[in-house]
C-alpha cells in the first residue's frame, strides 16, 4: 500500500466504526480542535441521552462529584501541554495530566498521543503502561487521539516486532482501540459508550 492508500483505508475503517477522523496540518491545530470540542459540549452531560435518567443514590452521588469541564492530557509532549494549558485557562477549562483517580466519575475529554495505527481495521495502538494515561482514555466521555500519519501500518502483523519488543520489556500494557466503547447486549441494538468513551476522535497529524 502507498502511504496515501494506508491513510485512506485507515480513515474508511475507523469511520465505519463511528470514529471521527480529522486531518490536522500541525500540532497547534490539534489543540484548537480539542478546546473547540470541549467548548461545544456541555459539562457533565452524558452525550445524547442518559444524564437525565434517575439513578440509585450511590451512583447519583458519584456523578455529583463532577462540576467543571475537565480535559486530561497525561503523557502529552510538555511543550504541547503548555500550549494547551494557555488555551484552557483562557476558556476556563480545567486541564490535568495526573490525579485521574480523583476524576473517576468522568471527565469531558481525554487527549492522548498514540504510537501506531492499523489500516486494515482502523485501529489505534497505544502504549498504556502509564495508569494516568490509561484512565484518561477510559473515563472520558470523548477520547481524542493524536496519530502521526507516518505511523500507520497495513496490518497487525506489521506491528508484531514492535509489540514483542515492548512486551518483552515488561511490565507493559498495550491497547488496541477501534472506535468508541460499544455494546449490543440489549436486543442486539448497538449503543455507544457503555463503559468507555462515547466518542472517539482521531486527529491524523501531517508529519
Amino acid at each position: 500500500m502507498t502511504v496515501q492508500q494506508r491513510i485512506d483505508l485507515f480513515t474508511e475503517k475507523a469511520t465505519a466504526v463511528s470514529a471521527v477522523v480529522v486531518e490536522v496540518a500541525k500540532p497547534a491545530d490539534a489543540l484548537d480542535y480539542v478546546v473547540d470540542l470541549c467548548g461545544k459540549k456541555e459539562a457533565c452531560q452524558l452525550l445524547a441521552s442518559g444524564c437525565e435518567a434517575p439513578l440509585s443514590d450511590k451512583a447519583e452521588k458519584l456523578c455529583e462529584a463532577k462540576r467543571d469541564k475537565v480535559i486530561a492530557a497525561p503523557g502529552l509532549d510538555p511543550e504541547l501541554f503548555k500550549q494547551l494549558k494557555t488555551r484552557c485557562d483562557e476558556l476556563g477549562f480545567k486541564l490535568i495530566d495526573s490525579g485521574m483517580r480523583n476524576h473517576l466519575a468522568g471527565i469531558d475529554i481525554g487527549f492522548t498521543e498514540v504510537q501506531h495505527g492499523i489500516a486494515e481495521t482502523g485501529t489505534l495502538v497505544q502504549e498504556s503502561s502509564s495508569e494516568e494515561l490509561r484512565l484518561a482514555t477510559m473515563v472520558s466521555e470523548i477520547h481524542v487521539a493524536l496519530l502521526p500519519k507516518s505511523r500507520i501500518v497495513d496490518d497487525s502483523y506489521d506491528l508484531e516486532e514492535y509489540l514483542l519488543g515492548a512486551m518483552k520489556n515488561a511490565p507493559n500494557y498495550h491497547a488496541f482501540i477501534t472506535g468508541a466503547s460499544r455494546t449490543a447486549d440489549i436486543e442486539r441494538v448497538l449503543a455507544l459508550g457503555v463503559h468507555g468513551p462515547l466518542e472517539l476522535h482521531i486527529l491524523l497529524l501531517e508529519d
Binding site: 439513578l55 502509564s130 440489549i186 449503543a191
Partner: protein, 715 residues
C-alpha cells in the same frame, strides 16, 4: 443451565422456548443479520486458509501445552505475575478466594469470563461473603436476574428491553424508560461506582502468550480495561486452552474471532497485559496480578485422538449463531453453561454426562456449525460420538438398539420393509401418502408420511437396466433405503438419464442402508457393521464412480466410512478407494457428464431449490444443482435461506417433531415466497419432509428430485 432429568422433561422445556415469541423473533433476526455481517467482514479474505492456520497453530499448542504452560509461567513470573495451576473448578475457586482473603478484598468487579462461568466462581466468592459484580452489560443483567448466559458472546440475548427496564427500575429504585440508549447509560453510571469501590478485578483471557508471559483480552465495552486497571488486585482466570506459543498466533486468531463472533473486523478494545503494571493503589504502586490456569479435564481431553480438536475452539460463539436448532430454542436449552454446538460437547466434558445426555440428542446433524467454526472443528461428529459414548455408559434405548440390530442384518431389514408395505395397506391413500397415522405418531402430524412403494427399486433393476454399447463410464448405483423402498421412481429417472448418456451401470444387490440413521442414534458399532457390509458389496466391481441420489448417503459414504473402519488396515484401504469414487448425482450429471440445455425441452417454468445440508456443506456442492435446473429447461429462482436445514435430519424428526416442524415451516414459507410451483432438491429425506409438509398445507407445489426434473424434460 440445563436441569431436565430426562428426555421428556427436556422436551417440555423445549416447548416453553418454542412458545416464547420474543426469543424466536430476536434469534431469527439475528441469524439472518449475522450471516450478512459475517460475509461482509470476511470480504476479500481467504477465510478457509485463515481457519486452517488457526487450526494448525491450536493443534500445535495442544501437543505442547505442558511446555507452553512452563514457558508462559516463567515469563509471567519474571515480569512480576503470580501463576497458578488449578486442576479443577473447585481448586480454581479456592485459589481465587484465598487471593481475595490474603489481600483483604471485599468487593470484586468482573469482566466477562466463560471460564469463571464454568467454575461457578461467583457462587464460591459469594459463599465467602465477597461482593461480586459483573461489569459486562449482558452479564450484569443476567447476574441481577440470577440466570446463566444464553449465548457465549451475547449473554442476555434472550431478554427484551422491557425486561431490562423493569430490572433496572428495581435496581436503582427509580422508574426507568425502555429506551435502550438510556438503559445503557444507566448501567454505565451505576457500574462506574462499583469499579471505584472494588479491591479486586477478575477477568478471563482470550490469549495466554507463552513467548511473552502476557495475556490478551478482547472486549467491546472496555470493561476489561477498567477491571484490570482500577482495583489493586487483578486475577485472570483462563482455561489452558488459551495458551498459544507466539504473539503471532494471537494476532492470527484475532483476525478470525471478532469477524466470526459478531461480524466486526475487530472489537473496540484489545488489551495486552504483560507483567505487573503501574497501579496507584497497589503495593509499591504496582498491581498485584495472578494468572490462574484451569485444567478441569482439558489436559486429558488433549490426549484423546478425536476430541483433542476441541482445543481449537476460540469461543467465538459462531456455532450457535448458525445452528438452526439453537435458533429455535435459545441457549438455555442448547447447552448447560457453554452453549451451541461446542456447548453440547463441553457440557459432557466439564459438567458430566447427566447434564449432557438430553442435550446431545438435539443436534440435527446439519453441519452448519462445522462449516463456520473458527477452528475447523468437526462439531457434529463429536456430538454424535458423545451421544454414542453416553449410550455405551448408560445403556442403549430400545428403539435405537433395535434399529441397530435390524440394520446389521440386511435381509431382515428388507423383509421388514416389504412386510410394512402390506401392513400399511389399509392406511394408504391413492397418492402415495399414509392417510392417517396411528395414535402413537400423532405429534408427527405436521407432515404427511409416504407409503412404501409397491415394487422396490432392487426388484425392478433387472428389467430396466439399459444395454449400453460403448460405455463412456462404468458406475455403480447406491440407492440408499429410502429411494430403494419408498421412492424408486427417482432411481428410475437416474437410470434413464445415465443410460442415454452411455453410462454403464451396475446395482450390487448386497448393498443396504448406508448406516447414517444408526450413527445419528449413537449406535456406532452398528454403523461400523453396516459400513463393512456395503464396502464388501462394492469391492469387486471395477467402477469409475459410485453414484448416489441421496446427499446424506453420499456424504456419509464419503466422509464417515473411512473413519468408521479405522483400525482395520484392510477395510481402511477398501474404504478409501470406495469413498474416492462416491459422487452425488448432481455433481456427476453436471461436472462429469456435462449435461446441458441441448438435450432438454425448454419450458421456462420457475423452479426453486432446497440445498440439502449434506450436499452444500457435507460435500461442498453449491452450483451444480442450479446449473442442472437451467439445463433441464426450467428457470431457477433462489429462495431465502436456501442452504438452511429443512428439519428432516433422519431420526431427529421422530425424536423432536416440534422442532422439525418449525424448521419445515420456515423452509416452506421461503419456498412459497418465490412463487415457483416446482421445488427441486437432491435428497429423498428432504423430499419426504418437504412433500409431507406441503401436502399438509394443501399446497400445489410439486417436490421432485433433480434427476426427475431432468428426466421429465428429456428431448
Amino acid at each position: 443451565m440445563q436441569t431436565a432429568k430426562d428426555l421428556k422433561q427436556y422436551r417440555e422445556e423445549l416447548h416453553e422456548s418454542l412458545d416464547n415469541e420474543f426469543l424466536r423473533t430476536i434469534l431469527d433476526n439475528f441469524a439472518v443479520a449475522y450471516r450478512a455481517g459475517r460475509a461482509n467482514a470476511f470480504k476479500g479474505m481467504d477465510v478457509k486458509g485463515l481457519i486452517s492456520e488457526v487450526a494448525a497453530c491450536k493443534d500445535e499448542a495442544t501437543l505442547h501445552h505442558a511446555e507452553l504452560y512452563a514457558q508462559f509461567k516463567e515469563n509471567a513470573e519474571k515480569a512480576g505475575v503470580k501463576v497458578h495451576w488449578a486442576k479443577d473448578a473447585e481448586e480454581a475457586n479456592r485459589i481465587i478466594c484465598d487471593i481475595a482473603r490474603a489481600n483483604d478484598c471485599k468487593s470484586v468487579v468482573k469482566s466477562k469470563s466463560m471460564t469463571a462461568e464454568e467454575t461457578l466462581l461467583n457462587h464460591a466468592l459469594e459463599d465467602e461473603n465477597f461482593e461480586v459484580i459483573e461489569t459486562d452489560l449482558g452479564e450484569w443483567i443476567i447476574q441481577l436476574r440470577h440466570e446463566g448466559p444464553s449465548h457465549m458472546v451475547m449473554p442476555a440475548i434472550h431478554l427484551s428491553r422491557f425486561q431490562v427496564k423493569d430490572l433496572f427500575s428495581e435496581v436503582t429504585g427509580k422508574e426507568q424508560e425502555t429506551d435502550i440508549d438510556k438503559l445503557v447509560k444507566v448501567a454505565r453510571r451505576e457500574l462506574r461506582q462499583k469499579y471505584v469501590n472494588a479491591d479486586m478485578g477478575i477477568s478471563g483471557a482470550n490469549f495466554a502468550v507463552a513467548e511473552t508471559g502476557g495475556i490478551g483480552l478482547v472486549t467491546n465495552e472496555g470493561n476489561a480495561r477498567l477491571v484490570t486497571t482500577l482495583p489493586k488486585v487483578h486475577v485472570a482466570l483462563m482455561g489452558i486452552d488459551k495458551l498459544v506459543p507466539k504473539l503471532h498466533d494471537a494476532l492470527r486468531i484475532l483476525k478470525v474471532l471478532p469477524r466470526n463472533a459478531t461480524g466486526q473486523a475487530i472489537t473496540s478494545y484489545v488489551t495486552w497485559i504483560t507483567g505487573s503494571n503501574e497501579c496507584a493503589v497497589g503495593p509499591d504502586g504496582k498491581k498485584e496480578i495472578h494468572f490462574v490456569l484451569l485444567d478441569n479435564g482439558r489436559s486429558e481431553l488433549f490426549k484423546d485422538p478425536l476430541f483433542s480438536q476441541v482445543n481449537r475452539c476460540v469461543r467465538c460463539g459462531a456455532c450457535a449463531n448458525v445452528c438452526p436448532v439453537y435458533r429455535l430454542v435459545g441457549g438455555h436449552k442448547m447447552g448447560h453453561i457453554y452453549i451451541g454446538a461446542i456447548g453440547l460437547i463441553l457440557t459432557y466434558f466439564f459438567h458430566g454426562k447427566d447434564k449432557a445426555k438430553n442435550l446431545v440428542q438435539n443436534c440435527i446433524n446439519c453441519e452448519a456449525c462445522k462449516d463456520i467454526c473458527a477452528g475447523g472443528i468437526d462439531l457434529p461428529r463429536l456430538i454424535k460420538e458423545i451421544h454414542s459414548r453416553i449410550q455405551d455408559e448408560e445403556g442403549h434405548p430400545l428403539p435405537s438398539l433395535l434399529l441397530g440390530k435390524v440394520l446389521k442384518n440386511r435381509k431382515l431389514f428388507h423383509t421388514l420393509l416389504r412386510t410394512a408395505k402390506w401392513a400399511q395397506k389399509p392406511m394408504k391413500e391413492s397418492d402415495q401418502f399414509i392417510r392417517h397415522l396411528p395414535m402413537m405418531f400423532s405429534q408427527h402430524d405436521f407432515k404427511a408420511l409416504p407409503t412404501i412403494a409397491d415394487t422396490p427399486f432392487r426388484d425392478m433393476w433387472k428389467d430396466i437396466k439399459p444395454e449400453v454399447k460403448a460405455p463412456k463410464h462404468r458406475v455403480a448405483l447406491f440407492s440408499g433405503c429410502v429411494q430403494d423402498f419408498v421412492y424408486p421412481e427417482q432411481m428410475k429417472a437416474c437410470v434413464q438419464l445415465l443410460g442415454d448418456a452411455q453410462v454403464d451401470m451396475d446395482f450390487p444387490m448386497d448393498q443396504s442402508c448406508c448406516g447414517l440413521p444408526v450413527q445419528m442414534m449413537g449406535e456406532m458399532k452398528a454403523a461400523r457393521d453396516v459400513a463393512e457390509q456395503n464396502l464388501r458389496a462394492f469391492q469387486h466391481g471395477n467402477y469409475d464412480y459410485i453414484i448416489t441420489l441421496c446427499a446424506s448417503c453420499a456424504s456419509h459414504l464419503k466422509h464417515n466410512y473411512p473413519k468408521l473402519v479405522k483400525g482395520n488396515p484392510r477395510l481402511e484401504s477398501l474404504a478409501m478407494e470406495f469413498s474416492n469414487k462416491v459422487i452425488d448425482f448432481s455433481s456427476f450429471a453436471n461436472d462429469v457428464l456435462g449435461l446441458d440445455a441441448e438435450g432438454f425441452r425448454k419450458t421456462g417454468e420457475k423452479a426453486t431449490y432446497h440445498a440439502p445440508c449434506h450436499l452444500c456443506r457435507g460435500l461442498d456442492v453449491h452450483e451444480a444443482p442450479h446449473k442442472l435446473i437451467e439445463a433441464a429447461g426450467l428457470e431457477y429462482v433462489e429462495c431465502d435461506e436456501e442452504e438452511v436445514c429443512c428439519g428432516f435430519g433422519g431420526t431427529f424428526s421422530m425424536k423432536f417433531p416440534e422442532l422439525s416442524s418449525e424448521l419445515l415451516n420456515k423452509k416452506l414459507n421461503n419456498v412459497e415466497a418465490t412463487g415457483a410451483k416446482t421445488l427441486l432438491t437432491d435428497c429423498p429425506g428432504c423430499i419426504m419432509q418437504l412433500r409431507g409438509g406441503l401436502k399438509r398445507r394443501g399446497s400445489d407445489i410439486q417436490v421432485k428430485h433433480i434427476a426427475e426434473a431432468l428426466a421429465a424434460n428429456k428431448k
